[in-house]
Amino acid sequence: MKFSIQVNEGPYTHESSVSALNFVKAAIEAGHEVFRVFFYHDGVNNGTRYTTPPQDDINIVNTWSELAKANNIDLVVCVAAAQRRGIVDEGEAERNGKDGNNIADGFRISGLGQLIEAGIESDRLVVFGD
């Protein structure tokens, strides 16, 4: 079965990122496909490479990056939500006159259409939020 996931909250701040990660891992272990994880609202904060979580805690951003690479998952950060919150890739930096970017490995910034498309193309869309 084809799953897509929506994550609405930032890592550490809210458990939803961890719930989504654990759900995605279990879905893949059960042989399902995870097509896309769409990061919306504060969920976009999952996609910054600038985090340095405590050594004795999970590194949520890196876990997403590794999981996506190993399983070909499309990690999409919503552009409108990212602009409000300061998540920037190379293209966004250029368009908005920023002097750098902070997007993490394996994430890409794109539009809300990607969420609707995920809803259309997936058998199940599961939302994790506050």
């Binding site: 609405n8 409108a80 539009g111 809300l112 259409g113 609707i116 809803g119 259309i120 869309l125 939020g129």
Partner: protein
């Protein structure tokens, strides 16, 4: 599965205190381009989103409430508001924006978009949906 899915936007939060109401509306506007079946549901504090005469001047932030009145132009005709939520909060339909869509099959007559539903009717609306986006 049919080609058209029923998308439902489930709104339970008040506007301005948090951004969910506004960012939910942004998804609805983008989603309208995809030619899917679209329903908006307002329940619990979500009903506050539709209260008329919102004025954010003194607060100094963007007033996004006028966008709701554009929903008709995006062919969004099914805006379900839970009756019990409205009543508990001491509000009536008159306290909400008057949202309409134009029916091209009826000489572009203006028709109400807001459908007041009881909890039982809402059960049926939710049961029919294929994809529920929660905010």
């Amino acid at each position: 599965m049919s080609d058209i899915k029923k998308f439902c936007y489930l709104n339970r939060k008040a506007p301005y205190g948090t951004v969910y109401a506004w960012e939910s509306l942004e998804v609805v506007l983008i989603g309208a381009a995809f030619d899917q079946d679209c329903s908006l549901v307002f329940v619990d504090d979500g009903v506050y989103q539709l209260v008329k005469d919102q004025d954010t001047t003194e607060l100094g932030i963007k007033n996004f409430a006028p966008t709701y009145s554009a929903l008709g132009d995006y062919d969004i005709k099914k805006i379900y508001v839970e009756k019990e939520s409205l009543e508990a909060r001491g509000l009536t339909l008159d306290d909400l924006q008057h949202l309409v869509w134009e029916d091209e099959d009826d000489d572009w007559a203006e028709k109400d978009s807001i459908i007041l539903v009881s909890k039982d009717e809402l059960k049926t609306v939710l049961e029919e949906q294929d994809v529920v986006l929660s905010f």
